[in-house]
């Protein structure tokens, strides 16, 4: 074998090695996407087949194609978008009305033991009352309108945000307080540079849970005294036995929940860049 051949051979082997490396990387990337899509698509396909062959009771589990048709008609008639906007108004309104006081009171309870000791029994006594049990009272006080629904959602959100916020402050490692003291921080400095930033991860947990609670409560809140909304649509579909429309609402709620989670995650990543990813 002359030298030129040997050289050529070694060149080829080097090329081959990098080619297979790249192939491995690409395969891993596209595999992941494939894997993530595969199960929902498979479920939909199986579901459709079962429905078309009447292997499941389509009165209760309509075929995906039927659900899709219902979705299209709700969309084109404008009902879907109207429901969505009204519910979003109530959800976001309720979330803000609940979260803001929750944050403020939670922070004060966390930072000031005196306030914590005074308010703790009140919180402990009122939190366990199911919000749904309070609904009739809220309806009497506020009437049957958007405000009443916002209040229902707000109460649910309030407690969750409050407790997580207070916990975030209280559970901060005591050593940070030692550092702050040792390096000359005033009380105010401590609150602003240590307690507040340190509590942010738990505060965000509270906000995410609070949002979940808001989505949960919209269905209950729109059960009575509503004429539109995603939750209302579920109950109305029940009344007229339009099951496909009900499923459309379930899917919309699921997508809403997903979007809100992504949004809060994004905001969190901006506000808390220091958290472990």
């Amino acid at each position: 074998m002359n030298n030129a051949n040997i050289l050529k051979k070694s060149n080829v082997s080097i090329k081959t090695a990098s080619k297979s490396d790249k192939k491995l990387k690409d395969e891993t990337k596209s595999n992941k996407l494939l894997e993530q899509i595969i199960s929902p698509i498979t479920i939909i396909i199986i579901w459709e087949v079962l429905a078309d062959f009447n292997l499941i009771d389509t009165r209760f589990f309509p075929a995906p194609s039927t659900i899709f048709h219902s979705f299209l008609s709700l969309l084109t008639s404008g009902i879907l978008l109207n429901d969505l906007s009204i519910s979003l108004y109530r959800i976001i309104g309720g979330f803000i009305v609940g979260a803001v006081p929750g944050l403020i009171i939670g922070l004060t309870m966390g930072l000031f033991p005196l306030i914590r000791n005074i308010l703790d029994p009140l919180v402990a006594a009122t939190y366990p009352i199911p919000k749904l049990a309070l609904m009739p009272l809220i309806m009497i006080i506020f009437g049957l309108n958007d405000l009443e629904k916002i209040i229902v959602i707000a109460i649910g959100t309030f407690f969750i945000v409050l407790m997580n916020t207070a916990a975030g402050v209280i559970n901060l490692d005591k050593i940070y307080m030692d550092v702050a003291r040792n390096y000359g921080a005033s009380k105010k400095d401590y609150y602003l540079t240590v307690a507040l930033p340190g509590a942010l991860p738990m505060i965000f947990t509270g906000l995410k849970l609070g949002m979940g609670m808001a989505l949960l409560l919209i269905v209950a809140a729109e059960m009575n005294g509503a004429s539109s909304g995603i939750g209302y649509r579920i109950w109305e579909s029940y009344n007229i036995f339009d099951i496909p429309a009900m499923f459309v609402s379930f899917i919309i709620m699921s997508i809403l929940g997903y979007i809100f989670t992504i949004l809060l995650d994004l905001i969190e990543r901006v506000i808390i860049p220091w958290k472990h990813s």
Binding site: V179, N182, Y183, S186, D189, T193, G198, H276
Partner: protein
């Protein structure tokens, strides 16, 4: 008596835990001169960390007197270097090191200058804007030390700062600490479990008994400076002092 920086007379600390009174340490009397490097060594639970915290002003003593000379009111009296997890996770390296200076409301230009100086000194320049979760344990401790030195205190209090590090990082940081200390002439009180570390670093070692901690012995380490980790163990005094401390410590630990 003019160069006495810290003088303790019969210093005692007791805690009430539920219905019991626990004595952390008692009857501690010693004199620390300005610029000396002291190590407190003792078995676990002997109260050495509590003693350090009392010296830092984080706890009040129960009995006895504590005299610390504050020469320059414009400088902080002491800064503490805690264990690894005491730098703020929500601040980057730069802001962590600047913390004491910011709390003292120094001018931003001055703060930047001082911080940059110590970042360079501790080899942290590439990590200036990194967050603690991106740093290794050794790096975090460098930040912790830089934060203390940047604050320019008269006394440096160090609470087992290298305890959670691997051997190599430990050794490196011991050397770096000595280097940066020798330039600054601060008084240092360093708590450790490690006799080896204590002998390498200090001028004097206070050995404590087991709980409740009293002074067992005070040792003079007359090994010449600058000390190098490579040949510290071949110093003739090293072996003798080590044996002496260890036999005393073993008494306290094994009973």
């Amino acid at each position: 008596m003019d160069d006495i920086k810290v003088e303790l007379k019969n210093l005692t600390k007791m805690f009430r835990i539920k219905k019991n009174i626990i004595t952390a340490f008692e009857d501690i009397s010693l004199k620390i001169k300005d610029g000396e490097f002291w190590c407190f060594v003792g078995p676990s639970g002997c109260g050495k960390t509590t003693l350090l915290r009392v010296l830092a002003g984080l706890e009040n003593p129960t009995d006895g007197t504590m005299y610390i000379k504050h020469m320059n009111i414009s400088k902080p009296l002491n800064s503490m270097v805690f264990q690894e997890h005491a730098i703020f996770p929500w601040m980057d390296v730069k802001n962590n090191i600047a913390y004491g200076l910011k709390m003292r409301k120094l001018k931003p230009n001055l703060i930047d200058e001082i911080v940059d100086f110590y970042i360079e000194k501790m080899g942290l320049t590439p990590f200036k804007n990194a967050y603690p979760h991106q740093l290794s344990g050794g790096m975090k401790q460098r930040v912790s030390i830089a934060r203390a030195f940047a604050n320019d205190p008269e006394i440096l209090l160090m609470d087992e700062p290298f305890a959670n590090l691997d051997e190599q990082n430990r050794v490196l940081l011991q050397q770096e600490l000595l280097k940066i200390w020798e330039e600054s002439k601060k008084t240092v009180i360093f708590v450790t479990h490690s006799i080896d570390e204590a002998i390498f670093l200090s001028d004097k070692i206070m050995l404590m008994t087991r709980h409740p901690g009293k002074i067992k012995n005070i040792y003079d380490i007359n090994i010449k400076r600058p000390r190098v980790i490579d040949n510290i163990r071949s110093e003739p005094q090293y072996v003798n002092i080590f044996q002496d401390i260890w036999s005393n410590l073993r008494e306290e630990v094994s009973n």
